[in-house]
C-alpha cells in the first residue's frame, strides 16, 4: 500500500539528533579513522579536512572536506556521517547535501565565509547542527533552522574550560527563563536577541526544543562525564581521540564514560591506562599576543 511520505520535516531533522543522544560524535579525517570510531562505539562521525588541533597549528583557511574523502568515509561506516561547512557558506552546504551527508555542522572552526549572515538552514533537507556560547546564540541558530545545538567550547585545545562556561551559560539561562512571567519573557527575548516564541517555549518546558550536545575541548573520559553532568545530552570529541596516544582505547573509554556519566566507579574504570591524552593548551596563551586567538568568537 502506498502512503504519502513527508520528508525533511523539522521532526525528522531534530529526530536524528534524538537518536544520537547519550552518544559520542567523533571527528575523523579519513575512512580509517571512521572505522576506528565506529568500532569504538561512536554514534556518528564528523568528516573534517583536518582536526581542530591541526587547524590551530597550521593556520590558513580550513574548508569543507574533499568530496571523495567524505564518500570514502560514508562507504567505510554505517553510522551517520556529518560534515562541516563554513559559517554562511551555503554553497558548501549544498555540496554536502548533494553528497547526502546525514548532518551538516555550520562550524566556527574554519574561518567564516560570511561575516554577517549564517546559512538559511530552513532551505535544506539535511539537518544542521550549530555551535553556541550562550542561550541567545542557540535560539538564533534555531530561528535560522538548526535542528541540533552544541556548545562551541574552544576547539583543538584539549581544554574543557570554555565548554564548561558555555554549557553553564546555556543551562543557567534556561533555568532563569523558567522563573519569568510573560512580560519578563518578552524583555528576556530582547535581551537574548532571540525569537520570542522560542524564548517562551524554553521557559515553559525548561529545556531547548532540540538536543544540546557539548563540544570543544573534551580530551578524557572524565571530561565527557563532567559535560554530561552539566546537562549535555551527548558529546562531540574532536582532536581528543586521534591526537591521543591510543585512539582506539581512548575512543571506547569516552563512549563508556558518556553512557555511565553518573557512576564515578565506571568512569574510573574507563579511565585506566589510556596512555597520554592529547596535549592541552591554556586559554590565556591563545589570548596573549601571537597566541592565535579564540575560535569561539566566530559566529554571533
Amino acid at each position: 500500500m502506498d502512503r504519502v511520505r513527508d520528508t525533511a520535516t523539522f521532526r525528522v531533522k531534530a529526530g536524528l539528533a534524538e537518536m544520537l543522544k547519550g552518544g559520542v560524535i567523533m571527528d575523523v579525517v579519513t575512512p580509517e579513522h571512521a572505522r576506528v570510531a565506529e568500532a569504538a562505539g561512536a554514534a556518528a562521525v564528523m568528516a573534517l579536512e583536518r582536526v581542530p588541533a591541526d587547524i590551530r597549528k597550521v593556520g590558513g583557511v580550513a574548508r569543507m572536506s574533499d568530496p571523495s574523502m567524505i564518500e570514502g568515509i560514508q562507504g567505510a561506516v554505517t553510522i551517520p556521517v556529518m560534515a562541516s561547512a563554513r559559517i554562511g557558506h551555503f554553497a558548501e552546504a549544498h555540496v554536502l547535501e548533494a553528497l547526502e551527508v546525514d548532518y551538516i555542522d555550520e562550524s566556527e572552526v574554519p574561518p567564516p565565509a560570511d561575516e554577517a549572515n549564517h546559512i538559511d538552514k530552513w532551505r535544506f533537507k539535511v539537518p544542521f547542527v550549530c555551535g553556541a556560547t550562550n542561550l541567545g546564540e542557540a535560539l538564533r541558530r534555531l530561528g535560522e533552522g538548526a535542528a541540533m545545538i552544541r556548545t562551541k567550547g574552544e576547539a583543538g585545545t584539549g581544554n574543557v574550560v570554555e565548554e564548561v562556561r558555555h554549557m553553564r551559560a546555556i543551562q543557567g539561562e534556561i533555568r532563569r527563563l523558567g522563573s519569568l512571567d510573560e512580560a519578563e519573557l518578552a524583555a528576556a527575548a530582547k535581551e537574548l536577541r532571540a525569537p520570542l516564541d522560542l524564548v517562551r517555549e524554553v521557559g515553559e518546558n525548561g529545556r531547548l526544543p532540540v538536543v544540546n550536545f557539548s563540544a570543544g575541548g573534551i580530551a578524557t573520559p572524565a571530561d565527557a562525564a563532567l559535560m554530561m553532568q552539566l546537562g549535555a545530552e551527548g558529546v562531540f570529541v574532536g582532536s581528543g581521540i586521534f591526537k591521543s596516544e591510543d585512539p582506539e582505547r581512548t575512543a571506547a573509554a569516552i563512549v563508556e564514560a558518556t553512557t555511565h556519566f553518573d557512576d564515578p566507579a565506571r568512569v574510573a574504570q574507563a579511565s585506566h591506562g589510556l596512555g597520554a591524552a592529547m596535549g592541552g593548551i591554556e586559554i590565556a596563551e591563545l589570548e596573549a599576543p601571537g597566541g592565535g586567538g579564540l575560535i569561539q568568537h566566530r559566529g554571533w
Binding site: D6, V12, G15, E18, K21, A43, Y103, V126
Partner: protein, 189 residues
C-alpha cells in the same frame, strides 16, 4: 509496576516521557542488575552499532534474552527492532535490514495503520529506518510501508521500524503497559 528503558544510547528519554505520561514508573537500564523486578522493557531508537557494542560491554545479551523468554513484554523501536532480530539478540524470528530506507535525507514521516489498533492512523517517524527483510512463521506483520514490513509482533515482543515516541503517540506504549499489568497480576504475592 516498573517499565525498564534500555539507556545505553539513543532516545530513551523520549520513551520515558511517553511512559510517564501514561502513568508508568520507569527505570533506566544500563547494567544487568537494572533488569531485576521490571515488568516490561523498551529498547529505544539510537545507533544500532553503538547499542550492540554497549550490550556486549555490559554483558546484557543473555539477561535480555532471558527476560524476553520469561514472557516479559518488550517494545523495540528502530534500532530496538534491530537489537531484537536474529543477527543480534535473536529474540524475534526476523532479519532486519539496517538503514533500509536510506540516509537521513530520505527519512520521513507517514500515517501508518496497525492491525488491531483502534482510532486514527499512527503518525510514524522513520529515521534512517530499517525494515523487516525476512521473517519466520510465528511473526505477525502489523504494518507495511510500500510492501515492506515495518511493525511486527511475536508473542510478548512488539517491534517497529519507526518512532511513535517522537510523534508522542502513546498507543504502542499502552499495549506494553497492558501486557505488563497482566504479568504483574500473575506474580506470586
Amino acid at each position: 509496576m516498573i517499565i525498564g528503558v534500555l539507556a545505553l544510547q539513543g532516545d530513551f528519554e523520549a520513551h520515558a516521557r511517553v511512559l510517564e505520561r501514561l502513568g508508568a514508573s520507569t527505570r533506566i537500564v544500563r547494567t544487568p542488575a537494572d533488569l531485576h523486578g521490571i515488568h516490561g522493557l523498551v529498547i529505544p531508537g539510537g545507533e544500532s552499532t553503538t547499542m550492540t557494542l554497549g550490550i556486549e560491554r555490559e554483558g546484557l545479551a543473555e539477561p535480555l534474552r532471558e527476560l524476553a523468554a520469561e514472557g516479559t513484554p518488550v517494545l523495540g523501536t528502530c534500532a530496538g527492532l534491530i537489537m531484537l532480530d536474529r543477527d543480534h539478540l535473536g529474540v524475534l524470528d526476523v532479519t532486519a535490514r539496517r538503514n533500509a530506507f536510506g540516509r537521513q535525507i530520505a527519512s520521513f514521516e507517514a500515517d501508518v495503520n496497525l492491525v488491531g489498533m483502534n482510532g486514527s492512523p499512527l503518525r510514524a517517524v522513520f529515521i534512517r529506518a530499517p525494515w523487516v527483510e525476512e521473517r519466520g512463521e510465528e511473526v505477525e506483520v502489523l504494518a507495511e510501508v510500500e510492501g515492506r514490513p515495518v511493525a511486527v509482533r511475536q508473542g510478548n515482543v512488539l517491534a517497529v521500524a519507526f518512532h511513535p515516541e517522537i510523534a508522542g503517540d502513546g498507543r504502542l506504549h499502552s499495549w506494553l503497559l497492558e501486557r505488563a499489568a497482566e504479568r504483574q497480576a500473575k506474580e506470586p504475592a
